[in-house]
């Protein structure tokens, strides 16, 4: 029975999956006849098969579902979401029972009556004229509109009005099989005796007795007795039932299991049929019926003869028939055409795995041999080895192919999941799948199935908004989830994109703080992208409430670690309001990977090629050099600064200082690696070639060393460790997240600074290029050096009728000895100062990404402008320097000094302005707290922080300054705090809108004097009020 059950389980599991997908299709396209027929046929087969296997629970559920499907097919019931849901439910029940069956080899106990009642109710509802009056089914029958009743009667004259379940069952049994479903309906019912064969033959009882008698006689027959399988009686019983019920599929399956030996020929079969015929003849009086039945037995002939012949060919044919239970089987055996030559076979997955392993070993040995022959020059082995090598490669490729499966296999379940979610959450979701035929290794496929499902679920649950919310946001009512898979250079890229609400930054941040994952101070520093990345943190779920669907504690962290486990990477971009895109990059196969062999401290290590972006050689004379920021090594690579780590240092071969010293003296090799979105360089001593390696896991006692992902044996027979770039990234930062955070920060700056900034680029002091926002510079001047005067250790020059102080960028700078001196003039109210520079280089319009902030006085940080690292100077610092002696004493009268410790909150998404204004305000004597967006500021309020004044930017992502102001003024602790708006937008309209929402004043961004004045004015006003 085992084989039979196995096969049944596999086939049913396959069919059920198919039905899942098809039902969802049907729901969307209720009129698609071919889909409906297909579903009906699949369910019918399931039902038929479990009938003879003696699985009453399964049979009854499948039967009830089939009834409903039959009504769909006949057009008596419309396909509705409700009925599809119930049918899906019954499929789930079938799956459940199947699982139990697989585990215990018998049907688990349970009660399906409720489910069956629901299914029957669908039919009853329809019978009662498709009335909407729920709950009043019976009454409605009588009162149903005459027209409808007539219509129904006309359609099915044999079943008027109401039918009981028994009648339905009988009707079903009479119904023809799926093959002749369309044309056989009338024929089946119009024969002279329209009772089904089953009844004419006396039903179950006769079959049972006949089986008993036939078994005894067949086993007693000396010519036949050696052929029979065990439990012949039971098998015959099953066979008889199938024959009587005309279930052709089952007949074949059982017939196969009857004989267990070769040599069963036509004559034997005739003998068998004759004996069975005589048994039926004795039991049943209806001679026509017996003849019909005996005709049906002819179906078994070929099958039994073939099966028997199969034993002659060794046990193989039986093996072949064994399904690959559990794994995804290769291809379906074509059972329908018994005589047709089968084009594909089922192979046990284990066998494939073994083959794969053997081939892997073969490849290794081949590599070893190749190496030996290469070393010994041209020998007689060269040619045969070449052939061996080629065969091995082809064999490897072939074996790999057998393991390849379309990614669509992992996707089958998704339409159903999305559909269920949509119904449950009352959303409108479309799932678009592209590239389902893209193939990848089945092992990888298995491993990404769950993460994929999880992500799609997330998109549907958290991403896509309910229709009302979507409409309100100006989107189409129907949300779309796009799945896209494609090959890209030895990898598979899978994208999951939704057009939902994106990842809410403020909510995430609040939650992260609440969960203690980050501190408030950290949160303040974090950019949006960085915050969104928090979803990869363990124990995070963005759903506000725990739904049935998600929020069970299995989060994106599990997804990420699962993907990283198979050497893949995951990346995410999310724009609040317009959607999230996840992108997964995974290797095609796990067994053999290509790796780069590098050397550190005379030891060789392998780095998987998947994470290697490029190799860079640096030396003192080459274009590329390792530079140092303090002691941290960095590499200028095209448009970015690449953080570097020394492999020697990571592996504890050398100290940081030693490595640093070496890199200044010698040429180095840098392996540019990417982990997630974090790109960094690994400095190694030497780089060898790439090799195909078979990754073997490290021994359990080494499992904790996260910088290794495995080890392998190279062509020369030596063992080498495989480095895990993830682990290295972890090693070199406190944690990987920090590393990603840095990266994300850099990106975030780029995002928030999307508007181009016009910068004046100049040179002063050393070779490094420096820059200042052009908006701060009032004029560029060129003075005759001889006109510059020195007074009290400071340089001065007469300029437009007054003395202007000249400041040098730093102490290393000197004024030009002779000729002319370039000066940047900064005017700040009536204070004018000049900054002496060596040379004005250019004015560029570029995105300003302050990548590294600086501790050096006078500099805000470094950025790349026109492909060169550039220091951004802090103008406020020089202003302070120029007017140190007299600035604020005079200003006190003009602008009014702030009371010591006056606290200001500065809200601006641009780090540039935060950096620019904070020192300015501090210089003016205020205590400044900054917030990167309005949400953060509001959090401060909720935490009970107090300020004397708030300065806020207007254009900010997420919540704008206007919204922020109205929230602040709406009530709470801060309602009375003066608000100053800061913006480039200073049209009258903006001004009035600003006042409307509660801003007390409106200042243009670069007008610092106005800002300071406004500050003191507002504070004074407030003082007066208070």
């Amino acid at each position: 029975m085992d084989d039979l059950l196995n096969e049944f389980l596999t086939e049913t599991a396959e069919s059920i999956d198919e039905v899942d997908v098809q039902l969802v299709q049907l729901e969307q396209d209720p009129n698609n006849k071919s889909v409906l027929d297909n579903i009906f046929r699949l369910v019918h087969t399931i039902k038929g098969t479990c009938g003879f296997l003696g699985l009453p629970r399964l049979e009854s559920v499948a039967h009830a579902a089939e009834n409903v499907l039959g009504q769909f097919r006949d057009g008596n019931i419309d396909v509705t979401a409700h009925s599809v849901t119930i049918i899906l439910e019954s499929l789930d029940r079938i799956k459940e029972i199947l699982e139990g069956l697989e585990a215990m080899e018998e049907e688990p106990t349970g009660d399906d009556s409720e489910l069956i009642a629901k299914l029957d109710a669908i039919i009853l509802d329809a019978e009662s004229g498709g009335s909407d009056a729920a709950g009043a089914v019976v009454e409605v029958v009588e009162e149903a509109p005459a027209a409808a009743a007539v219509e129904q009667t006309l359609e099915r004259d044999l079943r008027p009005g109401e039918v009981t379940l028994e009648e339905l069952e009988a009707a079903f049994n009479a119904a023809p099989g799926p093959e002749d479903a369309d044309d056989g309906a009338d024929a089946g019912l119009s024969t002279s005796d329209n009772r089904p064969l089953f009844d004419r033959m006396g039903g179950d009882d006769v079959a049972s007795v006949a089986a008993q008698m036939a078994a005894t006689r067949l086993e007693a027959n000396s010519a036949l007795k050696s052929f029979w399988a065990e439990n012949l009686k039971d098998k015959l019983y099953g066979l008889f039932i199938s024959v009587l019920k005309e279930q052709d599929d089952s007949i074949e399956v059982i017939a196969k299991s009857l004989v267990i030996k070769e040599g069963f020929v036509d004559a034997n079969f005739d003998q068998m049929i004759e004996m069975i015929g005589s048994v039926f003849g004795e039991l049943v009086s209806d001679g026509d019926a017996v003849n019909d039945v005996m005709m049906s037995f002819e179906l078994c002939r070929d099958v039994m003869l073939e099966t028997s012949a199969g034993f002659g060919a060794g046990a193989t044919s039986k093996e072949v028939a064994v399904a690959a239970v559990g794994g995804a089987p290769a291809q379906k055996v074509d059972n329908s055409g018994g005589s047709k030559a089968t084009q594909s076979i089922r192979v046990n997955v284990e066998l494939l795995e073994d083959l794969m392993n053997m081939v892997s070993e073969l490849v290794l040995t081949r590599n070893q041999l190749m190496q030996m022959v290469r070393n010994s020059g041209d020998t007689e082995f060269s040619v045969p080895l070449q052939r061996l090598s080629q065969c091995t490669s082809e064999l490897q490729e072939g074996i790999m192919k057998t393991r390849m499966q379309p990614i669509g296999n992992a996707w089958n379940k998704l339409p159903r999941i999305v559909r269920d979610l949509a119904v449950e959450l009352d959303k409108n979701i479309d799932l678009v799948m592209k590239g389902a035929e893209t193939e990848l290794d089945r092992q990888v496929l298995e491993l990404i199935k769950d993460p994929l499902t999880h992500m799609v679920r997330n998109s549907a649950d958290h991403g896509i908004e309910p229709p009302a919310e979507r409409l309100a946001a100006g989107k189409v009512e129907k949300g779309t989830i796009h799945l896209n898979a494609y090959h890209e250079g030895g990898h598979i890229i899978i994208e999951i994109a939704d057009d939902g609400r994106g990842i809410p930054v403020a909510k995430l941040k609040a939650k992260a703080i609440e969960k203690g994952l980050i501190t408030e101070a950290e949160a303040e520093q974090m950019s949006d992208a960085q915050v969104q990345r928090l979803i990869f943190h363990p124990g995070f779920s963005t759903a506000q409430k725990i739904t049935n669907v998600s929020g069970r504690g299995v989060g994106m962290d599990v997804v990420r670690s699962n993907i990283e486990k198979i050497g893949g990477t995951i990346d995410m971009t999310s724009v609040e309001g317009s959607g999230t895109t996840m992108s997964i990059k995974i290797p095609l196969t796990l067994a053999i990977v290509s790796a780069l062999i590098v050397e550190a401290h005379k030891e060789r290590f392998a780095i998987p090629q998947i994470s290697v972006l490029e190799l860079v050689r640096t030396s003192q004379n080459s274009e590329y050099q390792i530079e140092h920021i303090k002691s941290a090594p960095v590499l200028r690579l095209r448009n970015r600064l690449l953080p570097l780590v020394y492999l020697n240092e990571i592996l504890d071969f050398a100290s940081h200082e030693e490595s640093g010293k070496r890199s200044r003296e010698k040429e180095e090799f840098i392996v540019v690696a990417q982990v997630g979105t974090f790109t960094f360089g690994i400095v190694v001593d030497a780089v060898f070639d790439t090799e195909e390696i078979v990754v073997k896991p490290v021994a359990p006692i080494l499992k904790d060393l996260q910088i290794y992902s495995g080890n392998t044996i190279l062509g020369d027979g030596s063992v080498i460790m495989i480095l895990d770039p993830n682990g290295i990234a972890n090693e070199c930062h406190a944690s990987n997240d920090d590393a990603e955070a840095d990266e994300a920060e850099a990106q975030a700056v780029a995002i928030t600074q999307d508007e181009n900034e016009t910068m004046l680029v100049f040179r002063a002091g050393n070779r490094n290029q420096k820059a200042v926002p052009l908006a701060l510079v009032s004029r560029l001047e060129d003075f005759d050096v001889s006109k510059i005067e020195e007074a009290d250790g400071k340089y001065m020059i007469q300029y437009r009728g007054s003395l202007m102080p000249l400041v040098l960028v730093n102490d290393n700078c000197k004024l030009a000895e002779e000729g002319r001196q370039a000066v940047l003039v900064f005017a700040d109210g009536d204070r004018v100062m000049g900054l002496a520079v060596d040379e004005i280089l250019d004015i560029v319009e570029d995105k300003l990404d302050v990548e590294i902030s600086s501790d050096t006085v006078g500099f805000i940080g470094s950025a790349i402008i026109e492909d060169k690292a550039t220091e951004i100077i802090d103008v406020a610092h020089y202003l302070g320097k120029a007017f140190a002696d007299r600035t604020w004493s005079r200003d006190q009268n003009l602008i009014a000094a702030p009371v010591q410790g006056t606290k200001i909150l500065l809200v601006d998404d641009s780090s540039f302005f935060r950096n620019m204004l904070k020192p300015l305000l501090q210089a003016a004597g205020y205590k400044v707290t900054t917030a990167v967006h309005a949400q953060e500021a509001l959090q401060y309020r909720d935490q009970g922080m107090k300020f004397d004044l708030i300065i806020s930017d207007i254009e900010m992502p997420g919540m704008s300054g206007f919204d922020f102001a109205s929230q602040v003024k709406a009530g709470g602790e801060w309602a009375n705090i003066p608000l100053i708006a800061l913006s480039n937008r200073s049209s009258d309209k903006d001004l009035s809108k600003g006042r409307e929402v509660g801003f007390n004043d409106y200042v243009a961004k670069f007008d610092r004097d106005a800002l300071l004045q406004s500050l003191s004015q507002q504070l004074r006003l407030r003082g007066d009020v208070a």
Partner: protein
């Protein structure tokens, strides 16, 4: 301590009521590993060190296409370190389906230990040794420490975990 012959220390007992050990030398100390636990004995091998691993893990080596993790018993049991040019040998055993190799000074003969010559660990024995010893056999003129391979490797496992 009395032992029944059928199951001395849980090791396989020969028909003569003795347990057979492969003896290995660590300096002057004699250690015994149950003979059936030993898969292979190798001369010094090309061992690839594993940076950042525990001190007593010497590295990994290639045994006929299998990767074997090598544990330096001298280091693990707190003996003096072997001088760089001293020869050593490897005893390969299997633990939880994973091959390991003990680096020892040299392998001696196979000795049959009688149940009557068995003693439990003396209390004065060095902690590190006592932890990996499942008892002592009194041999002529020498004492043989029975190495508890399972325990040793589980300890190794737990100490890193």
């Amino acid at each position: 301590m009395s032992l029944d012959n059928q199951n001395l220390l849980g090791f396989d007992v020969t028909s003569s009521g003795t347990v057979e050990f492969v003896t290995v030398h660590l300096g002057d100390q004699l250690l015994g590993i149950p003979v059936l636990a030993v898969h292979d004995v190798l001369r010094s091998q090309n061992i690839t060190p594993i940076p950042l691993s525990q001190d007593s893990i010497a590295g990994v080596l290639n045994l006929r296409g299998k990767i074997v993790t090598a544990i330096d018993l001298r280091k693990h049991l707190g003996f003096n370190e072997r001088a760089g040019d001293d020869s050593y040998m490897c005893v390969v055993i299997e633990h939880r389906n994973e091959p390991y190799s003990f680096l020892i000074d040299k392998v001696g003969e196979v000795i049959a230990g009688k149940a009557s010559a068995y003693d439990t660990n003396p209390v004065t024995m060095h902690d590190r040794l006592r932890e990996v010893s499942s008892g002592i056999f009194r041999l002529d003129g020498k004492l043989l420490i029975v190495l508890d391979v399972e325990h040793l490797l589980d300890n190794q496992l737990s100490s890193v975990a």
